[in-house]
């Protein structure tokens, strides 16, 4: 996954899709894609492991209300600073 992200990132760079001039003319969707690729390339350090998954929170809340899942406070985690700060 990381290799794919790096490949796509390199492709965008080579085609000029992420140059400053181009960015300034584009809407936030393109910028979001760029940020997504940067984030993926930076954080997906274990491509051989099961992936981290983005879930539908509305669905999770429904499952929680129906009792299928719990939102029990977990231990053993730390807050992380925003990487862009």
């Amino acid at each position: 996954m990381k290799a794919l992200a790096l490949f796509l990132l390199m492709f965008l760079v080579l085609t000029g899709a992420v140059s400053e001039e181009f960015q300034s003319e584009q809407d936030s969707t393109d910028s979001g894609l760029f940020q997504f690729l940067v984030r993926m390339a930076r954080t997906e350090i274990r491509p051989w492991a099961k992936p981290i998954e983005n879930v539908d929170m509305e669905w999770m809340l429904e499952l929680f209300e129906s009792g299928i899942i719990t939102f029990h406070t977990a231990d053993w985690y730390v807050e992380k600073d925003d990487p862009d700060e």
Partner: protein
């Protein structure tokens, strides 16, 4: 504030943005707070003989109240319980069984221990710990059946309540762990030695998968590592693979491979080496390392003969490593 969190429970160290869940699929970032999706929601609840865990040197013959939630932090391609271990919590209908109810049920079913098993108790850490604490207060033993992929801090916290553990040492190859299991080797080795040091009774299981980890040199290396790091008295179970999950094209492990691995591990110096998931004559028998007398004979999970008296060989009185009825661990 990004509300990102990093789970430090297991070596994956997943960094999660809000709405993301970790590689275990059961720990979710909800607005900057990490929550367990499976606390008190087991998907498997059974009463098993302790021999099924397998634990052969821990209170033989007792019944064990066994629970598991969905989820695992590994993705072993040979997983024998993949329907629940590789499932997300919403994929399997759970029971509503909080820790208090687990202990009540265990006592009601005349179980002497609670086992956290089938999938991976590490990923339902809080449920395991809280249940184990209550079980201990109620006079029950606690058994952990785990792949051991956990960080040292939470492991130490959990170990306070755990009496016995069977740890799955899948291979001595880090690349095997990465490519076949989605994990790494060293944390598992650390778990085995740490639990041993903390006084938990430890037995080790190795699932021999044809063509993937059945090299005799590697199996010997595994036996040597156990000998050198946990001692000759640590029981080792070589377990037979059956085609499952993503490895349905492989044949079951030949029984001769299991027997050969067992014989070599005994020659290397381990005192108690067993064969699981296969019918063999010697692979289910506990013998005295001193006089070779048969101590415990088993047919499947049923004990047909037990010559251990007060934790000692009934013939030569040599102490037998393990936890036996009526006496403390040796």
């Amino acid at each position: 504030m990004s509300n990102r969190v990093q789970c430090v429970l297991c070596p994956h160290l997943c960094t999660l943005a809000p709405g993301e869940r970790g590689r275990c699929s059961v720990r979710l970032n909800v607005d900057g707070e990490l929550v367990s999706l499976v606390y008190g929601r087991p998907v498997a609840v059974h009463v098993d003989p302790v021999e099924k865990k397998p634990l052969f040197h821990f209170l033989p013959g007792i019944d064990v109240f066994s629970i598991a939630t969905a989820g695992c932090n590994l993705r072993c391609e040979f997983c024998q319980n993949w329907e629940i271990s590789q499932a997300a919590p919403e994929d399997v209908t759970p029971y509503d069984l909080p820790p208090e109810a687990v202990v009540e049920q265990a006592i009601a079913y005349n179980c002497e221990a609670v086992a956290y098993t089938y999938t991976e108790p590490v990923v339902y850490f809080e449920y395991t710990r809280d249940t184990a604490k209550l079980a201990k207060e109620a006079g029950l033993k606690n058994i952990l059946v785990t792949a051991g992929y956990i960080n040292q801090g939470p492991l130490t916290e959990l170990a306070e309540y755990i009496d016995a553990a069977n740890i799955d040492l899948k291979s001595m190859s880090d690349s095997y762990y990465r490519n076949v299991c989605g994990g790494t080797l060293q944390p598992v080795l650390d778990t085995i030695t740490t639990l041993k040091e903390l006084g938990t009774w430890v037995e080790v299981t190795n699932l021999i998968v044809p063509t993937l980890n059945d090299d005799s040199g590697e199996l010997d290396e595994l036996a040597r590592w156990i000998l050198e790091n946990t001692g000759a008295d640590t029981p080792l179970h070589f377990s037979r693979f059956f085609p499952m999950y993503r490895l349905i094209d492989l044949a079951p492990t030949p029984v001769s491979t299991l027997q050969s691995a067992r014989e070599r591990a005994l020659e290397i110096g381990l005192h108690h080496v067993y064969v699981g998931n296969a019918v063999t004559e010697e692979g289910m028998i506990t013998t005295c390392p001193e006089c070779n007398e048969v101590l415990i004979n088993r047919q499947g999970y049923i004990i047909t003969e037990n010559n251990i008296e007060n934790g000692k060989c009934g013939k030569c009185s040599t102490p037998v490593a393990g936890v036996w009825h009526g006496m403390e661990e040796q």
